[in-house]
Amino acid sequence: MKYVDEFRDGDKARQLAARILEEVDPERSYRLMEFCGGHTHAFFRYGLTDLLPPQIELVHGPGCPVCVLPIARLDMAIELARREEVILCTYGDMLRVPASGRVSLLKAKSEGAQVVMVYSPLDCLELARQNPDKEVVFFAIGFETTTPPTALLVRETAEAGLENLSIFCNHVLTPAAMHGILAGDTPLGLDGFIGPAHVSTVIGSQAYEPFAREYGYPVVIAGFEPLDLLQAILQLVHQLNQGRAEVENEFTRAVTREGNLKARQLCDDIFTLRDSFEWRGLGSLPESALCLKPEWAHLDTEKRFSFQAGASRENKACECPSVLRGLTKPHECKLFGNPCTPENPLGSCMVSSEGACAAYYSYGRHQLPQKADILAVGN
């Protein structure tokens, strides 16, 4: 078992697709939300949408870490990065997201701000040691997948007694976003969820049980490989045809019911719930994000620095908020493809390797019924 090719076997994929076709009731539709942007990209990257019958409609969810971060928080990060004494560290995908006035961290960097891309939050420790005269800030973003590494950074910073390192915490919670979508004013007419892959390795399949029990939606947790996705769709169709709504776990090679108890404990030690947090697209959601517990307040960037809250400006024509809710398909946005492209993104969903607009543009624009100019090369 090498864990790559086995889950990309073309023959098995066609067999699964045939079984989905057999199972699908031609008289009805199946509106399935894949929560993760990683799922959205896998569907397009492997051309899986071509294998699915027309009754299956995929609704793309908000599971893209850089996409759901509101512009105001990114504006704060850019303001920090521009301070003489600050070195701001964050993940690569975050660097290209446009904030107010279309300024990104990458643009701020070219204008002299100190911005460093890290693969691991723990890289900040070394940076802080090497730059005792600077304030190193880790711009922490993401769902439960990236939360434990940030927790580890908090603990190790404290243990090392580093006084020039702080954490700008923007971690958000997947179940809260799912509640937000289901409780929204506009009904999405969803039939079921393809549950998160990597997030679920941390929080476990139990986290989705309320969605099956209380809202009556089947949830099938799926890995990011093509066979994972086809298998999950088959299971969802099966449940729906039988009138069941249960949490099923397709991704058993990585996800348990309880999740990663060690990681969860570590996060509980470090973080506490915010009363509410503003999400891009989903608005303000109660108890949907984390901040550092009071005993770690000395490492909390928001406590260490004072911010001048300027007015954040969204591009009014950008449909990212509506795309993130699953209400608008990427190519229905007026800006899609012209002028908004991965090279010249106007909204966060066009930036990330997890954003829905980027998936549509990069892998699938040849199939979209759209204005001809978006197909032009490299525009």
Partner: protein, 341 residues
Amino acid sequence: MAKINFNSGKVEMLHGSGGKASSDLIEQLFLPLLDNPWLQQQNDQAAFDLPPGRLVMATDAHVVSPLFFPGGDIGSLAVHGTVNDLAMAGARPAYLSAAFILEEGYPLADLKRLVESMAAASKKAGVPIVTGDTKVVEKGKGDGVFITTSGVGVLPEGVHLSGDLARPGDQLLVSGYLGDHGVTLLSLRENLGFESEIQSDSQALHELVEVMLQAAPGLRCLRDPTRGGLATSLNELARQSGVGMLINEDQLPLRPAVKAACEFLGLDPLYSANEGKLVAICPAEEAEALLAAMQAHPQGEDAAIIGEVVEDDRHLVQMKTSFGGQRIVDWLQGDQLPRIC
């Protein structure tokens, strides 16, 4: 002449001043290692004869981090880069120049290793480095060593390769496993701590090209898919020729270790750099002969036909996936970034 300490010495500003220290460095490092009659004359330029044919010229600036990596270093890379740029035109590389920008404080022992590696690569390729220059920048203003090489070569009679010659129906070939160089560097660069046996594929390709030109006289174009990988090269060629490309995922030569590393990091091997591979486009009727000739050569033994040129006024590169689906293989936007979630 002051004897330079190549064990513990460091690059000093004086080494680039043009004075005595510069001259010492040339005499004790560059001349003996890169040894050839043109350098020995110690002029600021080299004069040479060339066989008849059109001249081809290329230049390539090399910056790489780290400077030493499994399968090569910036020295050998600087030779291979320019030799391959000449070879992609179908030219026989003849002479190289090299310009070094050194950072003050860089260990002379490491510099010596780099120049030794450069000398070995140049000797193996049969392309001498006949003139050069060295400058030193203050500590903190460089990244150890930057090397720019330029080269001239001669185009044999009747050879005309160009990126705008691809026509619908032509076949696409690659000379071997893709993405090795990029993944090797990434695994070292970012302290990712995963161990692999992947090595950079850095090598000179002009001998392979010579064999290919004999096997497929109708060869349309060659390109070395360096930065941006295969995907970027195909997009460039599609645009230049005003055509589309259709490749087959199942036919792409990818090492399991490269695939696994890319998977782990959330990257796509199609965008990962190569430093010793080429893409070839040839008329369909010559494809099998070309493939056989490539596979019979040590630098092309893993060569494969990966797809074909198609008519498409949108100039898209598309890929048939292993599942029978089809998707765009787009231009690389900025750097490849690993996914977060």
